[in-house]
């Protein structure tokens, strides 16, 4: 693979976690993101299932890419993804029936997560297996991180607990709205606002440095 020469395994892994975070930076995969993050446990299980599906399908797509005709590639990616999602769905049903019931239709809906299809089209189908898997691992960890931060914020404020362990004692009045749908929208909106703010600060800082350099010359 010629184009893989100037790729660095570590870089491909790390970029998904922060710089190209699928949720906070690329704003992909919003549906599962908001629907299942009303508690930290649900968010983690959802993240784990997505990690499994993304890594599995990236591996398979990268391994099979010579044999996938260009015209029908999207349909084939979807079938591969759907297969892994079915495996994840049935495994969760067997291992964690309680959480599976709570997540309900949203486990099968991982198929429609545009982030997963996006990685196949944009990365796995163009690179070797090693980089495809590293990229998938980084992207899914970034996704898990996003799910977990949203899920824990919503659980702490909406239920006064984290992983079902009460944090604040008897006097805390839970903000019920946070675990209801509007809380999901508003919390994610505020997190994106924070990311915008960080990006703007960074830009201003870099400009200041550039300005200082110009003056010192």
């Amino acid at each position: 693979m010629d184009m893989d020469k100037n790729l660095d395994t570590y870089q491909e892994f790390v970029k998904g976690i922060w710089r190209d975070n699928p949720v906070f930076v690329q704003v992909l995969g919003m549906c599962p993101m908001l629907a299942v993050t009303n508690s930290a446990v649900n968010a983690l299980v959802m993240g784990g299932a997505t990690l499994f599906v993304l890594m599995g399908s990236s591996f398979l797509v990268a391994a099979l890419k010579q044999w996938i005709p260009k015209q029908v590639r999207i349909s084939l990616y979807i079938i591969i993804i759907a297969t892994f999602v079915t495996v994840a769905d049935y495994s969760l049903l067997a291992m964690l029936p309680g959480v599976h019931k709570e997540l309900g239709a949203f486990i099968p809906l991982i198929v429609a997560n545009c982030m997963i299809l996006g990685r196949q089209e944009a990365f796995a189908s163009r690179h070797g297996i090693r980089f495809a898997v590293m990229d998938a691992a980084g992207m899914s960890l970034g996704f898990v991180l996003a799910l977990f931060s949203l899920g824990s914020i919503r659980e702490i404020l909406g239920n006064g607990s984290l992983f079902n362990i009460p944090l604040f004692g008897e006097t805390f009045e839970p903000w019920v709205i946070m675990i209801l749908p509007p809380g999901g929208f508003i919390t994610l909106g505020l997190i994106l606002l924070f990311f915008n703010w960080v990006a703007a600060r960074k830009k201003a800082f870099l400009e200041q440095v550039a300005q200082a350099e110009r003056e010192s010359l």
């Binding site: 704003v27 919003m30 549906c31 993101m33 908001l34 629907a35 349909s75 979807i78 079938i79 759907a82 297969t83 999602v85 079915t86 769905d89 049935y90 309900g104 239709a105 099968p108 809906l109 198929v111 429609a112 997560n113 545009c114 299809l117 709205i177 209801l180 749908p181 509007p182 809380g183 999901g184 929208f185 508003i186 994610l188 909106g189 505020l190 994106l192 606002l193 915008n196 703010w197 703007a200």
Partner: protein, 192 residues
């Protein structure tokens, strides 16, 4: 009869696909910039939802009882190809309608609201009529949410929004407030 009305109103207002189930957020956040486009996208989605309900019922009744583990793969493949076929048919039969729905049709197939509808209808064991009413309600609810959002976004374009807030952050917060308003419908049926 009462049951059918309940299914419709529930999908339209109380359990609105976008604002309560978070399904179909990509077009909701991505394409809701203009009122006109949003309305057309809503219509096209409703149409695909109804086709989906038909497909899902057919698959569930005749094929998937023999192999339930193939459900997801079957749904995706059958729905996507049916929509493609219908798109070709519309293009041939009614160019005007094709122009109105046109570009959106293939995109909608990958919208999670479509698959969500098929899965919800299966999990709840709806029959054909119930499934169709559910699809109609969900489509109308999606259109309603899209149109409301587009209207609000057209308004925010005229107002002076801080630079940091612009874009998705603002849209999400607007959606949150809209969703809060829709929660008010939750009491609609509890008294009866």
């Amino acid at each position: 009869m009462n049951e059918l009305v309940w299914i419709f109103v529930s999908a339209l207002l109380i359990n609105n696909f976008v604002l309560a189930y978070f399904l179909g957020l990509c077009p909701f956040l991505g394409v809701s910039g203009r009122l006109e486009t949003s309305f057309r996208l809503g219509l096209a989605t409703t149409f695909v939802l109804i086709v989906t309900a038909l497909c899902a019922w057919f698959l569930n009744t005749y094929i998937l009882i023999h192999a339930p583990y193939l459900r997801l793969i079957c749904f995706i493949v059958v729905i996507a190809s049916t929509v493609q076929f219908i798109e070709m048919a519309i293009k041939k039969l009614s160019p005007a309608l094709f122009k109105a729905l046109g570009i959106f049709l293939p995109l909608i197939t990958t919208n999670c609201a479509i698959l969500g509808l098929a899965i919800f209808a299966t999990n709840r064991g709806y029959n054909l009529v119930e499934g169709l009413i559910f699809a109609l309600g969900a489509g109308a609810g999606f259109t309603l949410a899209m149109v409301l959002m587009a209207g609000l976004r057209e308004e925010t374009e005229l107002s002076d929004v801080p630079a940091l807030m612009q874009g998705t952050a603002l849209n999400l917060i607007i959606a949150g407030i809209l969703s809060m308003a829709f929660m008010g419908f939750a009491g609609l049926f509890s008294s009866t």
